[in-house]
Symmetry: C2
Subunit: 179 residues, 2 copies
């Protein structure tokens, strides 16, 4: 096995707590107002990257506010969806899909495993694991999905269905080299 057995130290690894909502005592905090009146944004107004970043921060804020009840983040949610729909995927492959380092997925998987949402199953290769959601994991994921859909709909509510598709299509064309 990959250095230590799944049933032992792995799942017992230190894992960060859910990170509960903190009350903003003095409100010196993270509300990324879309655009502040009286401020000149100059070139920022014309940059695709700036627009994307602003949107991303706003969406992220809404996500955490909406899903605060669950111990989930966009990153963790994506992991579950990927594993659910690509059962048996390895950690290295998952890291590749998620665009993060292999070391990063360890904590994510540890956390889910300890919560009973997934299992590291034997792969043919004894160095690797096949990741699978448990029944409980699948059940939880369905709940998350529902909540995420609601969040995403709320966030996109000013756009028609057509516009949302259009937006995704445009975003999908970014960062593509013409060569």
């Amino acid at each position: 096995m990959p250095k230590q057995s799944p049933a032992t130290s792995k799942a017992q690894a230190k894992l960060k707590a859910p990170a509960a909502k903190r009350p903003a005592s003095q409100a010196q905090a993270p509300v990324f107002n879309a655009r502040i009146v009286g401020i000149n944004y100059d070139i920022l107004e014309e940059l695709t990257g700036y627009a994307v970043r602003r949107a991303q921060l706003s969406i992220y804020a809404d996500f955490t506010a909406s899903l605060g009840a669950y111990d989930i983040t966009p990153q963790r949610f994506s992991s579950l969806v990927i594993i659910s729909n690509n059962p048996g995927i390895s950690q290295t492959r998952l890291a590749e899909v998620m665009g993060i380092a292999r070391s990063g997925v360890v904590a994510i998987i540890d956390n889910f495993e300890q919560a009973g949402l997934l299992e590291r199953q034997d792969a043919g290769d004894r160095r690797a694991y096949n990741l699978h959601l448990t029944k409980e994991g699948q059940r939880q994921l369905e709940k998350y999905k529902q909540a995420v859909k609601e969040h995403d709909d709320r966030v996109s509510q000013q756009l028609t269905i057509k516009e949302r598709q259009q937006l995704r299509a445009l975003l999908g064309k970014l960062c593509i080299e013409s060569k």
Copy 2:
């Protein structure tokens, strides 16, 4: 003065180094491939938030790769642009505009001040500072702007000018409550 004079300990505060480019020895790293063949993304394909997040990560990666020569980040760049176009702005106001905590701007400003790019000038209110770019700061900013424009153009190269405007418009409509 706000607890300590600008000329003394403030600018001398610890500031993080430029964070030079690191060679990916084993390439277990951060290349967020737009979409990986053979992977089922399920619901993620339909989420506005996911599309925005992917785009943001790709753009960020291109930004750091493109601007690696300069000691700048999207965050720092935005700060300079805002200060340049809103001279005399206070740190608290800047924090508000940037959507981060006041404590966060201190390090940013310290860094710029030590680099000679900006000055904390006296405000009428002796608790506050008026932020101004120095001549050198203005000069540097122009260079950054040029590089950022090129980066943003490259990132958006698959979109027509019209589509870019369209994209920004759509992004700007996100996260708006209809009430």
